[in-house]
Symmetry: C2
Subunit: 212 residues, 2 copies
């Protein structure tokens, strides 16, 4: 009776073996050199075997990214409830950029290459959920009158764009290829601070009108 379950389990193990080999190659060599043939060689199978578990190469990479981004998202979501929304935004930005710089190939595939698959759109997508989280924290800050007038959705997108720009440049250009004036962590911090400063209400101590 348990045979069907065992078969399914073995199938999942095979899937995971493929994903692990793919991750290793993706992380160490990048997307282009992560080859179906080399994945197969690593797990001692034939390239075509992979196609019985994944539709194509991008399906492999996308599954991988979802798995690994999912871990980031869990870490973000089970953080402390945002007592201070501004501090929460800062922490969110730093966690996001940190993950991106630690997983450049993942990040590149998810956010820097034209998506053949329309990810990001569905609610289950970790990228979508991460942005939803950002939007939510920005909304909380707005509700407390901490932000200048404007749409929280737009603010969230502006913040995301700034973070993305910084990590994208750092991922794309080697340190010796462009004069990154401050070292990477300082640049990131400056981007976060500048983005927040651009969003915050003017530091006048009297908030205009507490709503509701």
């Amino acid at each position: 009776m348990g045979t069907a379950e065992r078969r399914e389990r073995e199938r999942q193990e095979m899937r995971q073996r493929i994903l692990d080999a793919a991750r290793e190659l993706l992380v160490t060599e990048g997307y282009e050199r992560m080859t179906m043939r080399r994945i197969a060689e690593a797990i001692e199978y034939t390239p075509t075997a992979i196609y019985h578990h994944f539709q194509d190469k991008d399906d492999v990479v996308l599954t991988l990214c979802h798995q690994d981004f999912g871990r980031l998202l869990e870490a973000l979501q089970q953080g402390p409830p945002p007592a201070d929304p501004i501090a929460a935004l800062r922490a969110l930005g730093l966690a996001y950029t940190r993950f991106a710089l630690e997983h450049p190939a993942h990040y590149r595939f998810m956010f820097m290459t034209a998506p053949k698959v329309k990810h990001l759109l569905t609610d289950g997508d970790p990228g979508y959920q991460a942005f939803a989280l950002l939007r939510q924290v920005v909304g909380a800050a707005a509700e407390r009158g901490l932000l200048r007038p404007g749409s929280p959705d737009t603010f969230a997108q502006v913040l995301w764009a700034a973070l993305h720009g910084a990590v994208a440049l750092l991922i794309t250009f080697e340190a010796d290829c462009f004069p990154v004036v401050p070292p990477a962590p300082d640049l990131i911090e400056q981007v976060v601070e500048t983005g927040l400063r651009g969003i915050l209400a003017t530091p006048k101590p009297e908030p205009p009108a507490p709503r509701s």
Copy 2:
């Protein structure tokens, strides 16, 4: 006598014919589908002929990008001298993003793919010059005490990161692939304004100490 010159001229014409065919393919089909074989077909030559004029595919694309970015840079540099540095920064940002969105494939190759060739580093590179221009205008703003304390070089890089992030996201994701809350031009404008706001001195009307 003039034969050497004629040969050289014909050589340059051939080079330009290759570049034009390559540009057409790059713009309409993207980097991946811009193929040496298809370039050759377009100009009615054999693929190998191209290698007598360019080292490899990336040499073709890089030359193309330098040509076309060069035009942007000329436009930027011969703009009016920056009476108001802040207005100049705004104009610079809008021109940069406009060019990027009008030449997505160029932009992607120059700033979103790992450079096998170490461009950006040399002074002659248009990308480098564009950044130098940005840095210069930021420096002018700083000298007039318009900015909050901090390194102008860092500010320039923060601004660049924000602009880059916005256009990179817009280039990567189709409009229907992610909920871009404001339409693209408004998002760009918000990014520029937010970046400036994050850089400016607090809007108190009395500047602390006019220097010199």
